[in-house]
């Protein structure tokens, strides 16, 4: 209860909490470190949920969360709203870091952990935008595609993606070999990716909506700037 009361107080008293993700990042880049606090409060649970689901260890998950937010803080100026929302950016980043950590933990006894990280670096050359779609849209479309998959593929995808089971656990559950389950998973996931790619290519925003969006963002930016000046003056006093 005390945490709720405290967050209510902070909600009331911190104007930064009213900002959108884009404005928050801009304020952070301009040097207002309190914006980082707001980013943390807003997305800690999402990042920790992803990390915990993948690495399955609270200590390791905490490390991943620390890395994600620290890296974000250091590279906040590289964030580009055109490439996707902050939420999607953090989600993908958290996912990638968690997979890295998981792979590193798995391979710790066999080869240098740089090998696992180098995979992530190799992939970083890709575009970084996920099918030009928002996260809820991706989720909804994925569920629609799942319904069209064969029973075996659907079961495997649901167990791995929704229930967070490993492929070995899934193989034991369905009574099949690991190799078969790996292939089934790949086939199902490839179908999902193919469908989302096609859907993303068909989705084109009309020009009028572009202009409306930019006007709105200008007004918000101006109001936010004035508000920030007041805060900066108060702090300097």
């Amino acid at each position: 209860m005390s945490d709720v009361r405290r967050s209510e107080q902070t909600q009331d008293s911190n104007p930064l909490r009213q900002l959108s993700d884009e404005d928050l990042v801009r304020v952070l880049v301009e040097g207002n470190q309190q914006a980082m606090e707001v980013v943390f409060d807003r997305y800690y649970r999402m990042v920790m949920r992803v990390a915990l689901r993948i690495v399955r260890d609270p200590g390791e998950a905490q490390d991943v969360v620390q890395v994600v937010f620290t890296d974000f803080y250091r590279s906040a100026q590289l964030f580009d709203v055109e490439k996707g929302s902050l939420k999607a950016w953090l989600l993908q980043y958290a996912y990638g870091r968690s997979i890295n950590r998981k792979q590193s933990l798995k391979s710790r006894n066999f080869y240098h952990k740089v090998d696992a990280e180098s995979l992530e670096m190799a992939v970083s050359k890709s575009s970084g935008r996920l099918f030009n779609l928002e996260l809820p849209e991706i989720r909804m479309l994925a569920e629609q595609v799942l319904a069209t998959l064969g029973e075996k593929q659907r079961n495997v995808i649901e167990m791995v993606c929704f229930r967070g089971m490993t492929l070995a656990e899934t193989a034991a559950e369905v009574g099949d070999s690991l190799g078969n389950v790996q292939h089934t998973y790949y086939r199902g996931l490839e179908k999902l990716r193919g469908f989302l790619s096609v859907h993303a290519q068909r989705k084109v925003l009309p020009e009028s909506s572009h202009r409306a969006v930019s006007r709105k963002s200008d007004r918000v930016e101006k109001r936010q700037h004035e508000h920030e000046m007041e805060i900066v003056k108060a702090r300097s006093l």
Partner: protein, 415 residues
Amino acid sequence: MNTRWRLSRHGHYKELCALASLGELPAGEAENMKGHLNACSDCREAYSGYAGINAAMIPEQSEDEGIIASLEEGSRVAVWESIARSQDRPVERRHFAEPQIVGSASRLTVKWAAAVVVTALGCFALGIRYELFRSYSSLENNQHSTAVARPEQQVGKTSTDQTPAFKQTSAVEDRLREDLSGERRHSKLLEAALAEKEKELAYVKDHNQSLRERITAEERELADTKSLLAAKSVELKQVQDSQASDKTTVVALQYQVHELTDRLNSETDNLQRERDLLSKGREIRDIVGARSLHIVDVYDADAKGRTQRPFARAFYTEGKSLVFYAYDLPMHSGDTKPTYVAWGEKNGNGSSIRSLGILVNDDQGQKRWSLSFSDPKTLAEIDSVFITLESSGDAGKPSGKRMLTAYLNDEVNHP
């Protein structure tokens, strides 16, 4: 073939991308993958796509919400420390969600520190205002002679300049005061909760203590019971051992009894034999030593006067006893064995015939038949003895042929 091989190989790498997006890349494939991804944009796109889909499909609620909440403050502190280290300077955290500090005393210290900071800020703001006011006042004094209108303008200008900044400071002060009163209320609630927990802890400690005492008492009782059980077990073993040895003794005694019984029986038989022998011996002594003993040997002769094989010997003690021995009597076999019966007679009178009994084959080796008769009254009424072969035993009257007639009234053999 090459194209097909390349396509199938490419498909293999895409499958590896799918596995890598789950963090389940098989051991030893990372180098291969890295090399391929460097060269293949299609696989890079595929990997990003797979990872993005996996990330997007993670449910927004999970069973780990409790764990996530418990790790929040620790993660927050770790992030801030990491950021501070990366910048090599302390990070300002004058803000709205203080990190969780363990222990109510530490929390209270933070609250009071916040109150001190607020007070200092307020004083500083007031001091600034005063300085500003003073500086503008001195400026007004210095320029009074040169421009009369200017001071008012400057004051007006100063007032105009001061107002927004002053308002900002007041707003900050108000916010900080609100925070402080909120923290004070929160602190009171925490203290009440702490007192409650301390009461609970004291109760639990007492309960623990009484449970420990009960456990100690139960352990003592258990130890006593164990030692009693051990003693009883020893006693039982002793009883069992003693029972076993008693059994052995009983068996030995039974065997002894059996042996003694056999010996007794044997001795009894011997004694009976001795008695019989003794009795017989007495009889013999009586016979042999009798003053009026008649010893009569009897032979039968056939019509031509030849002596037949069977013969008899009678030992007759007048008025006392008669012992009649018959030898070599003809043996008969068959289902109905005839018997030799001895008869007494007086003066050859058939009506005076008395039965003396059945002869017994008492010595088959000697083919001897014997009869002992000791009724003096009957002996006084007879003067001769003969035997007959009867088919139906002692019927009261002789029916067979007379044989071996011994006369008893001859002179005594031993005066």
